[in-house]
């Protein structure tokens, strides 16, 4: 049984249906990747999974249990962390406080070790631990967002365009981190515009177009797929 099973998911913004019946699965311990053009509905899918949006139809199962209709703050407790598009760190709080908030769902547990773990992974953050997060540069904020998501010790980590706006070197670092997390046993659902890097890393990939899955397959298969190469890798 897969860790995450989505069947026939539909999500609307007012009268506009943005997700028109998507089904997908993510196996425990694997990296799955969602790619697609602007406005295809990738972000919307993640927001529905984490409970920020209410699906109009369809079911979501996480570890065998129904997840649709569960409020966002409960979803975290169940073991899903979401590093949202555009980073969304808490700008007026220090780096450290941001991380502490990441562990909010684990009330009463000791999280100091986890803070240390994040600092170990991103030494840059440790240097700025007392700085207001809003004044960090884009890349630093991205590290913080990922670190914060890890603080809840998720079983499934959802990353929405973690490389957006990052310098090449930073992008490599982020992708390396994703690889390490996977090795450490975290399941990852990755949304990326940088399709070649994402598919290279992914065990399985889904291609979204206007709210529907138009293609799916293993990362390697998709990388070599004619249509994908043309539409998403910019090759002709």
């Amino acid at each position: 049984m897969s860790l995450l099973e989505v069947t026939d998911l539909r999500v609307s913004y007012g009268a506009i249906e943005a997700i028109k019946g998507i089904s997908l699965e993510v196996e425990e311990g694997q990296v799955a990747s969602l790619i697609g053009t602007n406005g295809a509905g990738k972000t919307t899918t993640l927001r529905a999974l984490s409970g920020l949006l209410k699906p109009t139809a369809g079911t979501i199962r996480f570890d065998g249990q129904r997840l649709d209709g569960v409020p966002a703050h409960e979803v975290v407790v169940r073991g899903i962390a979401h590093a949202p598009e555009g980073r969304r760190i808490f700008p007026l709080m220090s780096v450290e406080e941001n991380l502490e908030l990441g562990a909010y769902s684990r009330k009463g547990q000791d999280y100091l070790a986890d803070v240390g773990g994040v600092f170990e992974r991103f030494p840059r953050l440790e240097e700025r631990r007392a700085q207001k997060a809003g004044t960090l540069s884009g890349g630093e904020q991205q590290m913080l967002a990922i670190g914060r998501a890890l603080m809840s010790r998720p079983r499934l980590l959802m990353l929405d365009e973690p490389s957006m706006g990052l310098s090449p070197i930073m992008m490599q670092l982020i992708f390396d981190t994703i690889g390490e997390l996977k090795t450490a046993g975290t399941t990852i659902l990755l949304v990326e515009q940088n399709a070649s890097a994402a598919l290279a890393l992914a065990d399985f990939g889904y291609v979204l177009e206007t709210g529907k899955v138009v293609l799916s397959g293993s990362g390697k298969d998709l990388l070599t797929d004619e249509k994908v190469r043309k539409a998403y890798l910019g090759e002709d």
Partner: protein
């Protein structure tokens, strides 16, 4: 000179009252960016709550110092519960509406609460004498004297304000409040139940306002259905003066306002008539030179 200190001390008393109410404005503003115009009425209803308990439930011969904590807690609970109800029924449905909608709603709530008390509470329109639960008498510091009840007011306010500050800065719930204030959606992703956090914020503000209700009743009896309006306006001004959204700022703003009014009464020609104008002049001057209030922090939107 003595008179100067006397007025300073009177200003502190008044300021403590403003500050207690201002905290509710500032916290609610901080978390949902709403000027909760109904907050003054929540304070007013709290005063009536305390009065009601005293008048209708407590035995007549109860010693004043036993009744006092009961009345105080009753006021606080009344205001806290009312704040929660108002949030739930009037503001929550508008959480995602543009700013002006909840603002107008707040004005509506304010009017409705005033009118309900006026219409359905006996004598609320002409004023109910509030029970005097504190022994009469004066404390003297040098030539300055304040009544016991005024001293009690200041001490209690300061204790409550310190407690609140500690709570917001150092508890997990406080941190969740600040997170919700900055980005509610992302706060939910952290596992924060923002509905509960927001209602908690309203309740906290309400509790303080309720305490202020009892205090006001004791220093400025009688209470009537309109006491919330002026107190609310002043407290709101205090909150902005200190930098709205900022807890320490609200307290500072309250004291500054109280002191300005007291000194204006004494030293400005026609001061007793102009003191409110002075309060606003100070506010405007501060804002012109520090556009985010005395302690307000500005992290500018980055281009």
């Amino acid at each position: 000179m003595t008179q100067f200190f006397q007025q300073l001390s009177d200003g502190v008393v008044l300021g403590a009252l403003y500050a207690l109410i201002a905290l509710g404005y500032t916290m609610v503003y901080g978390i949902v960016q709403l000027i909760n115009f109904a907050h003054g009425e929540i304070f007013m209803v709290g005063a009536f709550g305390g009065y009601t308990i005293y008048h209708y439930l407590l035995p007549d011969n109860m010693p004043a110092l036993v009744a006092l904590p009961i009345v105080l807690v009753a006021s606080m609970i009344t205001s806290g519960v009312l704040a929660a109800i108002v949030e739930r029924l009037a503001y929550r449905p508008l959480r995602n509406a543009p700013r002006l909608a909840p603002l107008i709603t707040a004005i509506g709530v304010s009017i409705a609460l005033q009118e309900m008390i006026r219409l359905f509470y006996p004598n609320a329109d002409r004023g109910e004498p509030f029970p005097q639960l504190f022994p009469n008498g004066q404390v003297h510091f040098g030539g300055v004297s304040e009544s016991y009840v005024n001293c009690f007011l200041v001490v209690l306010s300061v204790v409550l304000m310190l407690a609140l500050r500690t709570f917001v800065l150092h508890s997990a719930t406080g941190r969740a409040m600040r997170a919700t204030a900055q980005d509610p959606d992302t706060a939910r992703l952290m596992g924060i139940n923002i509905d509960r956090i927001i209602v908690t914020t309203f309740v906290l503000g309400g509790l303080l306002a309720g305490a202020a209700g009892t205090l006001q009743g004791m220093v400025a009896s009688p209470i009537d259905f309109q006491i919330g309006f002026i107190a609310g306006l002043k407290a709101f001004t205090a909150a902005v003066l200190g930098g709205i959204g900022n807890i320490t700022g609200a307290v500072l703003g309250g004291f500054v306002l109280g002191i300005v009014e007291a000194l204006a009464t004494q030293y400005v020609p026609n001061g007793s008539a102009l003191k409110d104008a002075f309060a606003f002049v100070v506010l405007i001057l501060v804002l012109v030179f520090r556009p985010t209030g005395l302690l307000g922090e500005s992290v500018r939107a980055r281009a």
